[in-house]
């Protein structure tokens, strides 16, 4: 045996070792030929992505997002819980909640009495979806809607939850959904921004919305949401100053653009190029915006459909009508916010008023898109940032109660744009505290929206500060069950 070892040692000499190693090195070298950018960082992932063209054929081309800011209670709108009527006033069974956290607003409450909806529910349409009496118009269109009762989120307070819904992160500074879509799908109408924002408020307890919600984050600022306000100047600073005509404005812009080009060639800052594009778009918007904003030519049927408030600028109804007009004119993402849904107390009175604000116009928007043949290619989304607790915040009386924030289950609806119509997806437990079937996380929802628009949420990425960012961060699964 010793002899063999010796022989082996002699055979496996340095020369043999080196020659074998060179073989290994050679094979690595061969392999590296096939891996571009192995040694110089690498921008391989982004290379395949052409901003402005979807990854695959989209079902929806545009989105209208009717954000119900403040978080509407699911129990008085779409999540019918007859069990709560039986158990009204009883304690929320501790086994249901377990160790789940509460907000600071009710964590110290001595008792958690279950509160039933003060308003009745009925079943509607072929789908037999349950809708409360607060939504008489929405109940008529349930066969066009997909009601998702099993949404859940991670945040427990308004601002982080809202930011999470819009940007995929609770902290802010990331691009909003509309900005991502503008980046991913590009412009349809070069005379209007890709992403517009409309605000309204009801008389219910309200929560703020901030421009960070329609921020472009680290994306090019051309993708930022443009807020359209009520009043004479829907888009600020769009009007020519007094004494300046179109021709003079054009000349000014041409000269300005030359100057900008000069500094661009010197510094190469992409923000300068974005600025030039924005000036040009603003110039075109000067004619396109007044045309879109003009509601005076809407026929009487439309006024009746949306309700007469649609002619009062700044109302939710007017914003819905405007949303239709903007979307019809090729705006990729129209974001509405209706404030006032934060019913910690005095819920019956406030939610009735809030529902009255939005019910008719939201349903009208779906009908109106449908009768123009646009619903197939427009995704409409209605919902808040989280849900509300099945127990009462504060004192539960026969006709008054409140509900605290509840991230564990809530209801939204979607319509058109490749969503299955006439469907109720997911469910919650009997006391409406947790999701019992088919949970949909906010990132799942975002992945699904992107999917409907022809974008793969895992491939719609942007590299910033050395990291590749997505709207869905590092999670999210397309909910295929609700796609037609």
């Amino acid at each position: 045996m010793e002899k063999e070892f010796l022989e082996h040692g002699l055979t496996f000499n340095r020369r043999r070792f080196l020659s074998t190693m060179s073989l290994g090195l050679g094979s690595v070298a061969l392999g590296s030929l096939m891996i571009p950018n192995l040694l110089n960082g690498g921008e391989v992932d982004e290379a395949g992505f052409v901003p402005g063209i979807p990854h695959f054929a989209p079902k929806a081309k545009r989105v209208i997002y009717l954000f119900q800011n403040g978080a509407p209670s699911q129990f008085e709108t779409f999540d019918y819980k007859p069990k709560l009527c039986e158990m009204v006033g009883q304690e929320l069974p501790p086994s249901v909640r377990g160790m789940q956290r509460l907000t600071g607003m009710t964590a110290n409450q001595a008792s958690f009495p279950l509160a039933a909806s003060f308003v009745d529910f009925k079943q509607y349409g072929q789908s037999g979806a349950w809708v409360s009496d607060l939504m008489p118009y929405t109940s008529k269109i349930v066969d066009d809607l997909c009601i998702v009762k099993s949404m859940y989120t991670e945040a427990i307070n308004h601002d982080p939850a809202l930011t999470f819904f819009q940007t995929g992160s609770q902290q802010g500074n990331r691009p909003s959904m509309g900005a991502w879509l503008s980046y991913g799908l590009g412009n349809e109408n070069k005379n209007l921004p890709d992403f517009t924002v409309l605000l309204s408020r009801g008389i219910g307890n309200g929560q703020g919305v901030y421009s960070k919600l329609w921020s472009n984050g680290f994306l090019d600022s051309i993708h930022q949401g443009v807020q359209f306000s009520k009043g004479e100047d829907p888009v600020l600073y769009l009007r020519d100053p007094e004494g300046m005509d179109r021709a003079a404005r054009r000349e000014m812009l041409d000269n300005l653009s030359e100057l900008n080009q000069l500094s661009y060639s010197e510094f190469g800052d992409p923000e300068i190029a974005a600025k030039v594009k924005q000036y040009e778009m603003a110039y075109r918007m000067q004619t396109a915006v007044p045309e879109v904003m003009d509601l005076s030519k809407e026929p009487d049927d439309i006024v009746k459909l949306y309700g007469p408030d649609c002619l009062v600028p700044g109302t939710y109804a007017a914003n819905c009508l405007l949303a239709r007009k903007l979307s019809e004119n090729g705006v990729r993402f129209v974001q509405l916010y209706h404030q006032g849904w934060d019913q910690h107390g005095n819920l019956p009175f406030e939610i009735t008023s809030q529902a009255k604000d939005v019910d008719q116009a939201s349903a009208a928007l779906v009908t109106d898109l449908k009768q123009r043949g646009l619903l197939d290619e427009t995704l409409v989304i209605w919902g808040g940032e989280f849900g509300r607790t099945s127990y009462s915040q504060g004192k539960l009386t026969a006709d008054n109660y409140g509900r605290d924030h509840h991230p564990r289950c809530f209801t939204i609806w979607m319509a058109g744009g490749g969503i299955k119509p006439g469907m109720v997806y997911g469910d919650t437990d009997e006391v409406g505290y947790n999701v019992s079937r088919n949970p949909v996380h906010v990132h799942d929802f975002q992945a699904t929206v992107l999917h409907l628009l022809g974008l793969n949420h895992e491939k719609l990425i942007f590299k910033h500060l050395g990291r590749r960012y997505r709207l869905t961060d590092v999670s999210g699964k397309v909910v295929r069950d609700i796609i037609s």
Partner: protein
């Protein structure tokens, strides 16, 4: 084998081991050049070599330590060489496979299984080759290695075949019959029975007959089982079948039993709807109404596979051509990456001419979506549109086309989706042309010359086409008008002012009163834009219009203000959160509103609670003052009350003021809804240059109030000196 060849082969094995490790390490960054792709594509061809060679070698390895074989030199050499060549061919196959996997179309869950079992085969073979001469390598190890590697070969082969041929390739012909086309599908045979077959029949068949129930054919289904009939036609709620399905899964009687494949919600819905529709055994799916739930769900059930991405058999247009044809008012975009199909949108009708459609002839093959909504398109332009031979979706809403143009459109063989809302097309036009459209499945006809009745008739005559009628007000469900609005810039005035009331809806009548009574549609004055007021007035108004319910009442307070002080200052501080604009806020003509959503401090209301509201006003020219009023908010529920007292001090210098009047507003005696009102009073006219107003917040809230005894909040937005 020749020693030299063997050395080369062994070195090649080392090279390929390292090469493969390297490829795996950087796989995500790997880009296979086009010229190497054919090598990858030879993977399915080459893989047969390692399978055969390795299986043979492994078989021999299994028996290698049998005494007969250890003695056999030929056996040993033959096996070693075979093993080496087998491992090498596995290496080549793996490399080829990695290249091939980089091509598109290889995704999904099977690929990783195939890949890693394949790689395992190679590494087992390679490591085995180097280890099998070691001393510890004895019969058990040899047998184990041979078995494991063989298993990997089999698995890799199996997953590979799934990749190429798809799942159930082998059993496919036995298991699946061709899918039934929707048109021919019968609800029971093609939807309901397959559910039973998949989920129930394994226990409820002639051989097993659990619970004396058989679900193999209509007759036995009708017969039911031991517990009784399966269902009551028309009443799924009380049908045994659904009761059993809906029982909690722990229940012994829950069906299918725990552990067996369960029904999904869609299947449950189908069973329930089928029973609800009287459990018919012969009805066809398409005989059900178009929007029937059973039909909708059955249709998706019959074509469960997601629609494949549509492919087009024309070539893509030149990118430069698309760039050239894209203008500010005409967007052209591919449907998706690598799709040759284009969508074209027109915007801005003033920029539109027929020429603009004509210019697109270079891409006439590629345009599949065309949006001309609101463009002044005339019948004469249709011949330009029909040039887009592959057009699938055409939007002609609110264009000037008529039935004549529509007729020409029938030459578009691919047209599936047509929108003609807001055009002058009539029922007669549509009746004539609809049968001539080859592929049409949706037509949108809202706001055209068609009545709802006519649309429904058309729908009946053409059940395959979806007619979208939209909303038309039939006057049967009037809704309430919104209240009138005031358009005056401010409702605070000095000179007589013209009242400007308005309503956004055209043709509305505004009725109003100024005497504090409730307005109605008959007796109250009709607003005609000629009302001029001189004194503070409360106007109450409602809006009316034929076909609508009258609006809620709205009240507008017009306040007369004769004197505006030249300078003002506060003598005592305001609440930290109710600062408004400081002393100026009382004369800025901005009325505060009641709005729970706008916090008072953001809303023109200045407030005090723990000290008086004390304001010093200076008039450069002495004024003759006879009344002082404060506009306040009252909301008893949140502890906002009118002031206890308002003291008016006046004089000719700030040091020599005397008390002119003390006004005591009435304090509410019970809770009432919030209220905005002016409180104050008149007194004997006095000439003053300096005026001090002291408003005292209610120091103790009344007995009936929840906050009794505590000081109330006083909120003031304007002051009026007359």
């Amino acid at each position: 084998m020749n020693k030299k060849f063997k050395d080369i082969a062994e070195q090649a094995l080392i090279v390929s081991t390292i090469f493969i490790l390297f490829l795996l390490l950087f796989e995500s960054k790997l880009v296979v050049p086009v010229w190497l792709q054919p090598v990858g594509r030879m993977h399915p061809l080459f893989l047969h070599f390692p399978i055969v060679l390795l299986l043979l070698a492994l078989g021999m390895e299994f028996f290698r330590f049998n005494p007969a074989n250890t003695a056999n030199t030929f056996y040993r050499i033959f096996l070693t060489n075979f093993w080496l060549i087998g491992a090498l061919s596995a290496a080549v196959t793996v490399i080829m496979g990695i290249f091939l996997s980089k091509e598109t179309g290889y995704e999904g869950e099977t690929l990783p299984w195939h890949k890693w079992t394949g790689i395992a085969v190679f590494f087992l073979a390679a490591i085995g080759y180097w280890c099998r001469t070691m001393t510890w390598y004895q019969a058990p190890v040899a047998k184990g290695l041979a078995l494991v590697t063989t298993l990997c070969v089999v698995l890799a082969g199996h997953y590979g075949s799934v990749l190429t041929h798809g799942d159930n390739f082998i059993t496919g012909p036995i298991l699946k019959s061709a899918p039934v086309p929707l048109e021919e599908a019968i609800v029971f045979n093609d939807v309901i029975q397959p559910i039973f077959e998949q989920k129930c029949v394994s226990c409820h068949n002639p051989d097993k007959l659990k619970g004396e129930l058989m679900l193999t054919d209509a007759k036995s289904i009708l017969k039911g089982g031991k517990t009784g009939k399966l269902f009551v036609a028309g009443q799924p709620e009380i049908s045994l079948l659904l009761q059993r399905i809906h029982l909690p899964s722990e229940d012994k009687k829950h069906m299918p039993p725990i552990g067996k494949s369960q029904l999904n919600p869609q299947e449950i819905a189908l069973l329930s709807l089928w029973i609800k529709a009287k459990a018919d055994f012969t009805k066809k799916v398409i005989d059900l109404p178009l929007n029937d739930s059973l039909r909708l769900i059955a249709s998706t059930f019959l074509s469960p596979v997601e629609r494949e991405e549509e492919t087009f058999d024309f070539a893509a247009a030149d990118e430069e051509t698309i760039q050239k044809l894209t203008t500010e008012f005409r967007s052209i975009a591919p449907l998706a990456r690598e799709s040759p199909a284009l969508a074209v949108n027109f915007f801005n009708k003033t920029a539109f001419t027929t020429e603009k459609i004509k210019e697109l002839k270079e891409i006439k093959e590629q345009v599949v979506f065309l949006n001309l909504a609101k463009m002044p398109v005339k019948d004469g332009d249709i011949s330009q549109i029909t040039a887009f031979e592959n057009l699938q979706k055409l939007d002609l809403n609110f264009t000037d086309i008529t039935g004549k143009g529509l007729k020409e459109l029938t030459s578009l063989k691919q047209l599936k989706n047509l929108s003609i809302s807001g055009t002058k097309v009539t029922a007669k036009d549509l009746l004539a042309v609809v049968p001539n459209f080859k592929s049409l499945n949706t037509i949108v006809v809202w706001n055209t010359g068609l009545t709802i009745e006519e649309i429904r008739q058309l729908q009946k005559a053409h059940p395959r086409i979806r007619f979208i009628e939209g909303f038309k007000d039939d006057g049967k469900n009037p809704i309430k008008l919104n209240p009138p609005q005031v358009k005056n810039k401010s409702t605070v005035f000095n000179e007589p002012v013209l009242v400007q009331l308005a309503h956004p809806v055209k043709g509305v009548q505004i009725r109003f009163t100024t005497d504090g009574t409730e307005p109605d549609s008959i007796k109250s004055a009709l607003f005609t834009n000629q009302t001029v007021i001189k004194a503070s007035t409360n106007i109450r108004a409602k809006a009316y219009k034929e076909g609508w319910f009258g609006s809620d009442e709205v009240a507008f307070d017009f306040f007369k203000r004769t004197y505006v002080p030249d300078s003002v200052r506060l003598l005592l501080p305001l609440n930290r959160v109710h600062q408004a604009e400081g002393a100026k806020s009382f004369f800025d003509e901005k009325l505060g509103t009641f709005n729970a959503n706008s916090p008072a401090w953001a809303n023109n209301w200045a407030g005090v609670r723990n000290n008086d509201l004390a304001l010093m006003a200076e008039f450069k020219k002495p004024i003759l003052l006879s009344s002082v009023e404060l506009r306040i908010m009252e909301e008893t529920e949140t502890g906002i009350f009118p002031p206890e007292a308002i003291e008016v001090w006046g004089g000719n210098s700030p040091d020599q003021l005397k008390k002119i009047a003390v006004i005591k507003p009435s304090i509410p005696t019970k809770h009432r809804t919030h209220l905005l009102q002016a409180v104050g009073g008149k007194f004997k006219p006095q000439t003053v240059s300096y005026l001090k107003i002291v408003a005292k917040p209610l120091s103790k809230m009344p007995e009936w109030h929840g906050g009794k005894g505590k000081p109330a909040l006083l909120l003031v937005d304007e002051m009026f000196f007359n």
